[in-house]
């Protein structure tokens, strides 16, 4: 890469880190197409760089989210159990199952979830019920300071077993296909467990670094991480995620959902296109 291309990659990745930090995803949906289409990077190296970008988004944003009490660390740690086991299962399954059918199914799930997200656009906060069952035993409830609403907002996780199973599925998908795991995590926490959107996004951010780190060893040993490309990616994403993490507490949950929705649509369409064998 020449310095001009490096600068271009850096600037694109500032945007990827910013959007990733706000939407709770790793930014692979931006980094991979940008590197391959705009900068002519080999697809394997682009995917290796996107793993770096996921970890950079996660650590860069979570440093602030954890301190600002946007991340629910108990929810995150408990669900990481499901995603890491799922990720290993997915990596082992990769030799057995046919990806095209899975990609098509996942694409349909993501696009279906996008429709559900549209229906929720009018609601700032989920209804709060008394925590029950597993949510009580695991203490999966709390409050977060909402700077947009100007008050502490209480929440309690609902349907914990369903959320745990969906997180396992998110882990399998990321291990098997290497995509969309941040979007599925947000959907599991926001959709199934009814956590506030900002808490879902921040906690997803907290978790995706661990899921990505679990598979990073494989990419490193395969030689898919080229520092000449990953260096401007990491620096750009870290800067973008740091900026995004300062914005999130001030945005309304509706606004965060409005940022998440097009990201979800893009991932859904890209996944479907890959499954059908069309597109780049």
């Amino acid at each position: 890469m020449n310095p001009i291309a490096d600068l271009g990659i850096f600037v694109v990745c500032v945007g990827a880190g910013l959007i990733g930090a706000l939407a709770g995803v790793g930014g692979g949906i931006i980094v991979v197409p940008a590197l391959t289409i705009l900068f002519g990077v080999d697809v394997h190296l682009a995917i290796g760089a996107s793993i770096v970008s996921v970890i950079a988004t996660s650590s860069g944003a979570s440093a602030a989210y954890v301190r600002d009490r946007m991340t629910d660390m108990r929810v995150g740690m408990f669900l990481e159990l499901a995603t890491t086991v799922g990720a290993i299962a997915g990596a082992l399954l990769a030799a057995v199952v046919a990806p095209p059918l899975l990609l098509i199914l996942l694409g349909i799930v993501l696009l279906g979830s996008a429709a559900q997200q549209v229906l929720r656009l009018g609601k700032e906060l989920p209804p709060v019920f008394e925590p029950s069952g597993l949510a009580v035993r695991l203490r999966l409830s709390g409050t977060y300071p909402d700077k947009a609403l100007g008050r502490e907002v209480a929440y309690a996780a609902q349907r914990v077993p369903l959320g745990f199973v969906l997180m396992g599925f998110a882990g399998v998908v990321s291990g098997l296909l290497g995509i969309g795991s941040g979007a599925l995590k947000v959907l599991a926490m926001d959709g199934a467990m009814r956590l506030p959107m900002k808490v879902s996004s921040a906690t997803s951010n907290f978790m995706i670094g661990v899921t990505a780190a679990a598979s990073a060893g494989i990419y490193l040993s395969r030689g898919d991480v080229d520092p000449r490309i990953a260096a401007p990616v990491a620096l750009g994403v870290l800067l973008g995620a740091t900026i995004g993490a300062r914005l999130l507490p001030r945005l309304s949950n509706r606004r965060v959902r409005l940022i998440f929705l097009p990201v979800l649509l893009a991932i859904g369409l890209e996944t479907l296109a890959r499954g059908l064998g069309v597109g780049p």
Partner: protein, 119 residues
């Protein structure tokens, strides 16, 4: 350990990892503008190793090679979430929170298996 202290520890691990990683990568990048990625700040001959070969990182650092600085920064970045999980485990133990200490230890175990056993 108070919840605020707990959060400060986890957040501190993440900030430490991110800042040291960014510093190493930026150092490598800046040095590469001067002597090229394959060069050496000690004026040694260009390396013939592949840039994505992380196995000779120790020799590369000794030879002050820009590529080795960037590789070290990337490794610190990848290690940060793992260190964060390990630090959370210690914090839960100090809090005498057995349930979450066990959950976190489980995550750490799965993570280490995936990093070092499954290749």
């Amino acid at each position: 350990m108070t919840p605020d202290r707990f959060r400060a520890v986890v957040s501190g691990v993440l900030i430490g990892g991110v800042v040291s990683s960014a510093a190493l990568i930026a150092l490598g990048f800046t040095a590469s503008l001067a002597v090229g990625w394959d060069g050496s700040l000690r004026g040694l001959a260009a390396t013939t190793r592949s840039a994505s070969d992380f196995s000779a990182i120790g020799i590369g650092l000794r030879d002050l090679r820009p590529i080795a600085f960037a590789q070290a920064g990337l490794l610190v970045l990848v290690a940060t979430p793992v260190v964060r999980v390990a630090a959370s485990f210690v914090a839960f133990v100090l809090e005498r929170d057995r349930l979450y200490a066990a959950i976190t230890l489980g995550v750490l175990a799965v993570l280490l298996v995936s990093l070092f056993v499954l290749r």
